[in-house]
Symmetry: D4
Subunit: 155 residues, 8 copies
């Protein structure tokens, strides 16, 4: 994998647009102290090289009535490449937005959002219970979100 | 808390822009089958009401050399409102992007990204070890990311 | 599901009769400050709508020699809808009076009362051991009951 | 403690009224095959001796919007009679209806009902977190109730 | 099961002989203040009724080079009466002197004495590993014996 | 520590008397094929050297109403020689007959017999709860005894 | 197994050469105060008897880019001599340098060194996941090495 | 930290001498196909640069009667840099040869060798029990060593 070398100008641009994707080019140019055309060129290049993977609208989960949040730990059965197929299956479940394969006594950490307990039970937990690759799950209901920052943080 | 009632047009717009914040208004109008001015009006209103909380640029973590990902479970000491002050402290640590207070045998699930083990040790773990509100932590190194979708999913 | 809207009079009546099902209508009427016929009408309505599900006699378990109380945590095997059939089977065991399907590292919490250890062993534990849907159980003998209030509490 | 010896007639009466406290005396007399005066006498005696501890109205929790059910395991700190004072304190929390001191790796099993997550957090969990007698709690959210029979079962 | 009622004289006799099976009858008679013939009669009766189950010589385990002591927790597989057959099998293993079926997260506690690690490995652990009724074992090597009193204690 | 070397004759004698302390000398002599005086001499010597530590009467626990058996795992607090003083304290509790300091995640395994739950609660568990050297206990009630052989086994 | 009896001279020699295999014979002779020929003879004899098992070059793992160290706990499935074949298989995996079969709740402790996470995932973890003898693994990433002394220490 | 770049010749030399520190230079030269002077020069350079950290004699632990091997998991108390001082203290205990600070639910993995249980108890466990920085330890006695290769493995 080729990784593009980012210079100071790139990083300054990213730092501005990371949590404000619609920040005007002129103002970026002013703050970074490079011509506007350079800002435009750099952004295009970073899009092309895969440094910038997209621009997202952050919708308030509560406005969508998605306030039944869970973090589920999943233990896969051992044997026959179950882990990889399970990682993919979990990723495609409705409501699921994070699937991490981790080292330690559990195998996957899954983050998901649902409308309420019935939505969670029917569309998530009952599906997990019937997946043959799973040995155990343990679901932690989220009581309070202290931070959820949907972008990489550049200090 | 007042929650704005979203109608079908709102939801269709959100569904389009959630993972493409720069999608042209004309094309949205065409797809949702409403005038372009309606699209613009609805978006403005959703921004004002807090349904749309922002527009983010999703930067590839690997491009920033942030590929030492960890998920840390934290157990707080009991007593004296430690939980709330701890939730806030954890949220302000460099590298940390998710802090969830959960029900069950652990209290917080913390998601964070670092450059490498040294970065993780010095800027995160050593700080946790010295926080008096913490009883125990258990860090799971992420071996593989199957899914990380930094926006609310609207089906 | 239609849920009947309860008003203040309903709630005041329920609060009185919840732990004294035979409390005289006259005295309820006096305390709630409505005519006796209203009390009678409201109670009938709540019975019909399913708000009041029944009237129970609370018999002292010790008088029935039922003082071997246990709380058993049950972990179901994963796969093939085992959970639902197990929940039903557990509910029908003699001595069992509470069966809850819970989130976390265990699946069911079962509360039961027996005459003594032999009764518990023969009529409960040995049956559990032979249920194919069960992966593990862990029984906690109750050493002391601090509270057991067999009705919903209305503050 | 003196324990009243129950005979067959007593048990038959209890079996009828345990889940129907308002069952008519005449019909009990008919079914148990004793005079109505005997039924009345026996019930009075069992009330006086403490065999019958009360008559309860079973109100549907859902009608009262009490459908956030939890089962919380509590571990007390060791030392200085903490257990007994803790058992009493837990029993007096709003929403709590069952408190059992159990043998094994946990000390108390607490059953409680709340309106929703906020009610649970503010009126229960935050109070527990600040009790000095508690070392740890682990809350299991109830996903489904398979059985909850608020009276002693006489077979 | 018929259980013989023990009186004060019986208990006083048992208290003397429990840890000195060869204590002279005369001296027992003197201490208990009953005729020697009564002592002899009582002992005979208790032998016959099964109150006294035998007289044992307590041999110092270290003198027999049996100083590799272990306490092994055993978890049985669920299903098909495995527990009872396993309890019997464990009881017949060489070196094993205590086998208890217990409530909680483990099923059996097994106490055993061996000459050394090789003896333990070959004659005990390897046999356990190959028993199909066993799901897991966990062996705790005894580091120090604070008390081991091979008789029932009468206070 | 000097350890007496046991020969074949010693071992044969021990094997006979280990579970029958009153077996006649003549019969031992006959079976071991040595003169009766040799048997007497060998036994005296083994008593003097500490190989034979005593003769016990095995009283049936059920006859003494001691059928509430528990196995309690104890975790000591770390620091200041707590372990050794705790081992001694546990050994002196009424009802306790076995106290083992073990390697692994628990520190002590304690075996004890009580008359019933109240006896166990008052004379054992409540004392443990108030010992400052203890961090945690976990009590397993014995449901069935498969083997309890109160003497060293010589094969 | 015959074990050679080591005297003081042997031990003194071993103590010198244990962490300096190329220490000159003359200087050893001088320090131990025996003729050089004795040193040479003793070393030869210890090599022949298996006391000295070899001479190793300790290469700095970091210089070989082997700084992704892990300690993996492995739980074997029970039954059919799985343990022994598993112990051998684990020993032959690339990167693995320590395999210990231990008593307690885990069966094997495995120590291994890899170039990075990808090397670890592909050449180690994925192989473990597909071994039918394994029930569970739990990998602990080493954050810091405080001591690693690759020779037996003679005080 | 400067890290010397190793070429193919260096690696081939290391591969030969890693488990035979006294392998003759002539034979290395022959096998690697470079002049003997190059071999000598390369080895000197790797010694100077810290690639080669020493030459060790691998003494058979059994010959030194060091066959009571343990792997101890240590949990440090949280707060006040306890971890770092504890890591250093553990490293200096007699018998200890490996001390790893690890991520997960335990903090340190300690490997050590002792003569027997008494040696282990007195010189290791009792010292740990009295270290104020330690919250818990859990010692696993090694039952069998499948592999222990005291050098970095170059494939
Ligand atoms: Mg894992
Ligand atoms: Mg929690
Ligand atoms: Mg569950
Ligand atoms: Mg307890
Ligand atoms: Mg059990
Ligand atoms: Mg221990
Ligand atoms: Mg093991
Ligand atoms: Mg750690």
């Amino acid at each position: 994998m080729y990784i593009m070398e980012l210079d100071d100008v790139d990083l300054k641009i990213l730092k501005i647009i990371q949590n404000d994707a619609k920040y005007p080019l002129e103002k970026i140019a002013e703050e970074v102290k490079v011509p506007k055309s350079t800002v435009a060129y750099r952004i295009k290049k970073m899009e092309k090289m895969g440094v910038i993977k997209g621009y997202f609208t952050y919708v308030d989960p509560a406005s969508l009535n998605l306030d039944y949040l869970v973090i589920t730990l999943v233990r896969a059965r051992y044997g026959k490449d179950y882990h990889d197929s399970l990682g993919k299956k979990l990723s495609q479940l409705p409501g699921v937005w994070g699937v991490y394969f981790v080292l330690g006594d559990m195998d996957f950490v899954v983050l998901a959002r649902f409308k309420n307990r019935e939505d969670f039970m029917k569309n998530f937990l009952e599906k997990l219970i019937n997946m043959p690759e799973i040995e155990r799950t343990s679901t932690h209901v989220v009581a309070k979100v202290y931070r959820e920052t949907p972008y990489v943080i550049i200090d």
